[in-house]
């Protein structure tokens, strides 16, 4: 699958000024890959709980060097009593572009009313485990090293309850064990659901629609501290991250927001201010979203926060934030200025084009390997009734994707239409995960749609730059090195990437860190800052290879 590389400084300069004019970037290979998963959802979406699933995870569950795909399915109000009515899929990557669903054999097919997913080697045995959020009890699928998993959520104390959505693992207290944060959405009793179309918060442009989240009671969030003995203790309130106000929590991102080396936590909230918790290094957090400028829109709008991406898009040495929102709001690009964030959404030219769309899954990723992080957003409305109502500035129920090409000057061009119909196809998407499915150095995309089939988009860009993919092996129980930062210098490019558990919208990206190098055929310097603060350095690393670095 290797393609010819077009190298040279002249090409790189051109790539930074304008988006590539190539006709083919992604090819939809879903069917030929053998992916037949279809997410279940009630057609009319009479209840909000039928609109919010589901996530997708990219992980190498069998440690064969090929990234596999887990797609979360959900129930409906009508099928709520039958867990077998939904069927989540675990597609084992067979190589050669083929996948096979092994979810039943693996024991991960029926998480009930599934919502999201995040991955991590929770017990440090070298095998990735899966955490699946749900309406009702969540699931911690422990990897048995033989292609099967065992749900140990209850035993481990992480089953939670209520309506969980986002999740992410991180070692917030640096004790060498991965802890777990779970966001929750609204308090929902299936026996007493808010009646469709009845009430002020159950109308949209004068037509009856599902109720919520406004008008419904919000749910608090959960922080499970890993006690190191196979058990977790819920410490959200003590740590100051429980969200007692009950904002409507969705996307979760652990990242170092203030550059002090400790993992902070950002939660995208729907229709309420989002939350940024700064790690106080003593087991507690301080919520600072307002003073840091990441709580609301520039004009103080409480946006419908959904998915999150964290990345150093301007190669400035700090992790910025991208958040997807509801239509007629705009997607936020918050640039990290060190001691605060600036809302540069309009200045970066990522905001205006997002206004018609309800954004969900998103990722910073370098699709053309030019050394600059681009942005992908998948969209889809929540009200099927929209197609018979007046839409205002919104696109219809089914919506296209948005692809932003990074120009290298702090601005982006929205270029989806330049790459043929694949990204322009109107769908009702939710989860999104990016990873290199075929190990060819170009990043592929997997999307979980609310209605209908999933989508696997294979990156076939001919004129992509050089690349490097780094797999980190942490020491002790932190085998995934979640929270580690990989920094790389190649020519004029200074990049950094973060290893994250829980990304995008209720999803999990490929944890291997990918760098586009543009014309550079080697990285002069590569540095890993491990979660415990220790540093490993490499020099003169050749391009176009997958590299594994173990923590000493």
């Amino acid at each position: 699958m290797r393609r010819a590389l077009v190298a040279g400084a002249l090409w790189l300069a051109a790539a930074r000024l304008a988006a590539p004019a190539s006709a083919l970037l992604f090819r939809d290979v879903t069917r030929e890959a053998g992916i037949v998963f279809e997410h279940h959802s009630a057609p009319e979406k009479k209840y909000i709980v039928e609109s919010m699933s589901g996530g997708v995870a990219l992980l190498d569950f069998d440690n064969d060097g090929l990234v596999d795909i887990y797609l979360v399915d959900s129930l409906t109000v009508d099928t709520a009593r039958d867990p077998n009515a939904s069927h989540s899929a675990l597609y084992r990557n067979l190589g050669g572009g083929r996948f096979r669903d092994v979810a039943d054999a693996a024991g991960v097919a029926h998480p009930g009313w599934g919502m999201g997913v995040c991955a991590a080697d929770v017990d440090g045995d070298g095998w990735p485990d899966l955490y699946v959020t749900a309406l009702g009890a969540n699931h911690l699928y422990h990897n048995n090293h033989d292609g099967t998993f065992t749900d140990i959520a209850e035993r481990a104390g992480v089953a939670g309850g209520g309506w969980s959505t986002g999740c992410g693992f991180a070692d917030y207290d640096r004790d060498g064990n991965l802890d777990l944060f779970v966001s929750r959405y609204v308090q929902l009793d299936l026996a007493h659901l808010p009646e469709f179309g009845k009430g002020k918060t159950c109308e949209y442009r004068g037509i009856p629609v599902q109720c919520g989240p406004r008008g419904l009671a919000g749910e608090s969030d959960l922080l499970f501290h890993n006690d190191g003995n196979g058990r977790f203790t819920e410490l959200g309130r003590q740590a100051g991250v429980s969200d007692p106000a009950g904002y409507f929590g969705l996307g979760v991102a652990w990242f170092d927001a203030n550059g002090d080396g400790w993992p902070d936590l950002y939660v995208a909230d729907d229709s309420t201010p989002s939350l940024l918790y700064l790690n106080q290094k003593d087991g507690t957090f301080k919520e600072v979203a307002f003073p840091m400028g990441v709580a609301v829109s520039e004009d103080g709008g409480e946006q419908g926060g959904m998915g999150l991406a964290v990345g150093d898009y301007d190669n400035g040495g700090r992790f910025s934030l991208f958040k997807t929102n509801f239509s007629e709001e705009y997607n936020d690009l918050y640039r990290n200025e060190g001691d605060h964030f600036s809302d540069v959404s309009f200045r970066s030219r990522t905001a205006a084009s997002s206004l018609p769309y309800v954004g969900w899954g998103t990722a910073f990723f370098d699709y053309d390997n030019d050394g600059l992080l681009d942005i992908l957003v998948v969209n889809g409305h929540v009200y099927p009734q929209l197609d018979v109502a007046q839409r205002g500035a919104s696109a219809g129920y089914r919506q296209r994707k948005l692809l932003y090409h990074n120009r290298g000057d702090g601005t982006f061009d929205e270029v989806a239409a330049q790459f043929g119909p694949v990204l322009m196809e109107e769908r009702v998407s939710r989860g999104l995960a990016v990873g290199d499915l075929d190990n060819d150095g170009r990043l592929d995309v997997v999307v979980n749609d609310l209605d209908g089939g999933a989508q696997v988009l294979h990156n076939e860009l001919a004129e992509a730059g050089h690349w490097l993919e780094v797999t980190l092996r942490g020491k002790g129980r932190m085998t995934d090195a979640i929270g580690a930062v990989v920094k790389l210098r190649a020519g004029r490019l200074n990049m950094m990437r973060l290893v994250q558990s829980g990304t995008s919208y209720l999803s999990q990206e490929d944890m291997r860190r990918h760098f586009g190098l543009g014309a550079a055929t080697r990285a002069e310097a590569l540095e890993v800052v491990w979660p415990d603060g220790s540093v490993t350095r490499r020099e003169n690393v050749a391009a176009d290879q997958r590299l594994e670095i173990r923590q000493p």
Binding site: R214, P291, Y330, Q390, G392
Partner: protein
């Protein structure tokens, strides 16, 4: 944006004493008052307005003197002083002023022989005469089409006796015709309560409501008006009331029926387009607004609404073009400049946006939205101190604007004024919570 709708009416009539009442023989202290009233109304009947005016002013003088003396006799010194002052203001000549001075010095003596009941009766008659005098003076001004002056005089009448016959009606009509729509609402409402079948009065009140921003009440009054369907201006007013009371679908139907009956009209196409945009049908709205521009290329409202539609859809360059066209149609309009500055700011053209906003604020320093936008732009450019200056002014002008509190909080934060920042963020949260729990 609000289109003022008015229907001039000035058919007010003076209130005249019947012959029997005029011939009554008053007790001595009120004789001069009754004489003045009788003279005024005789002059009115004869069409001698100047003489009538003089006599009514005499009546006012006498009436205020009586009230002053009555109040003095009953120990209400402050009220008595005020009545004497009012009398002084309408004293016609030196003789009157001399008499007034003498009475001021011995105010109780003139009414010394009257019983309490007689004084009360005299006071009531004096107050009625004052109200009557102001009423008829006001009506005469209205008949001379001096509506603002008429409204002042009628307000005096209403203050002297709010229940005096026709006073609320006359005051409402005068204010209405003086285009004091907001002030007209209260007297017209009171008048309508006493004459609910008066269709013209309902229409006036509806129009006053419309201009006062009380659209739902305006729509309610016009809903069952029997003449509405046949009267284009009433129908138009009804459509506006519906649109602005968040009933755009009904408004759209009204405007469509007007267009069907009266043919192409740029003005009607604009309001139709606005109602369609409000309903979320941007496509139909764009068609209607484009039609308006085809009929009349410089209809600023059409450009403004098209600009807003483009802005909401994220088509910034198109929005900018519409706002520039709007500005060309009304170069001095401050809201238009603000609209253009909004689009420019989102496009990153902050220099021109700042210039526009400074020009707006030079003309109208209390334009809170312009202050806010200027502050926001300055903050984004790193000029936090200058931003604070603008945003603090905006906060003073609109303390309940959550966006202002948020941006001001960010600006304080940037200046290291953390406590002030937190106060603003807290105010923001409280405003949002209040809005969430509100109706």
């Amino acid at each position: 944006m609000m289109r003022r709708v008015r229907r001039a009416r000035h058919g007010l009539a003076c209130l005249l004493l019947g012959p029997a009442l005029a011939a009554q023989s008053p007790p001595d202290p009120g004789r001069a008052l009754d004489t003045a009233i009788a003279a005024a109304e005789a002059s009115l009947r004869a069409g001698e307005w100047e003489a009538a005016t003089r006599s009514y002013r005499s009546a006012l003088f006498e009436g205020w003197l009586l009230l002053a003396q009555r109040d003095a006799a009953e120990g209400r010194a402050e009220s008595s002083r005020a009545a004497f002052d009012r009398a002084a203001a309408v004293a016609a000549d030196d003789a009157g002023r001399t008499r007034l001075r003498e009475l001021r010095e011995a105010p109780r003596s003139a009414l010394a022989g009257l019983t309490l009941a007689q004084r009360q009766d005299l006071g009531a008659r004096a107050r009625a005469a004052v109200a009557r005098s102001y009423l008829n003076l006001g009506v005469m001004q209205a008949q001379a089409r001096q509506f603002a002056r008429a409204a002042e005089l009628l307000a005096e009448a209403a203050e002297a006796d709010p229940d005096f016959p026709q006073v609320q009606y006359s005051l409402g009509v005068a204010r209405f015709n003086a285009q004091q729509y907001v002030a007209a609402v209260a007297p017209l409402s009171r008048a309508l309560a006493t004459r609910p079948a008066d269709a013209e009065l309902r229409r006036m009140l509806a129009t006053a409501y419309l201009n006062d921003g009380r659209y739902a009440e305006a729509a309610e009054l016009l809903r069952d008006d029997p003449r509405r369907e046949a009267d284009a201006s009433l129908q138009y007013a009804y459509g506006l009331a519906l649109a602005r009371s968040d009933r755009p679908a009904e408004a759209e139907a009204v405007f469509k029926s007007l267009l069907a009956r009266h043919g192409d009209s740029a003005e009607l196409s604009v309001v139709l387009g606005q109602a369609q945009a409000q309903r979320g049908d941007f496509e139909a709205a764009s068609v209607a607004l484009s039609r308006a521009l085809a009929l009349k290329p410089d209809v600023a409202e059409a450009h403004a609404t098209l600009g807003e539609i483009q802005l909401k859809q994220g088509r910034l360059a198109e929005a900018e073009a519409e706002f520039r066209a709007e500005l060309a149609a009304r170069p001095d309009d401050l809201k238009t400049r603000h609209n253009l500055a909004t689009a420019l700011e989102l496009e990153g053209q902050s220099e021109e946006a700042i210039d526009l906003l400074r020009s707006v604020l030079a003309a109208k320093p209390d334009f809170a939205d312009a202050r806010y936008l200027l502050g926001k732009i300055l903050l984004a450019r790193g000029e936090a101190a200058a931003a604070v200056e603008q945003l603090e002014t905006a906060r003073r002008l609109t303390p309940d604007a959550a966006n202002v509190r948020y941006q001001l909080g960010l600006a304080y934060q940037k200046l290291g004024r953390g406590e002030q920042a937190e106060r603003e963020f807290q105010a923001f949260r409280e405003l949002k919570d209040k809005r969430r729990s509100g109706p």
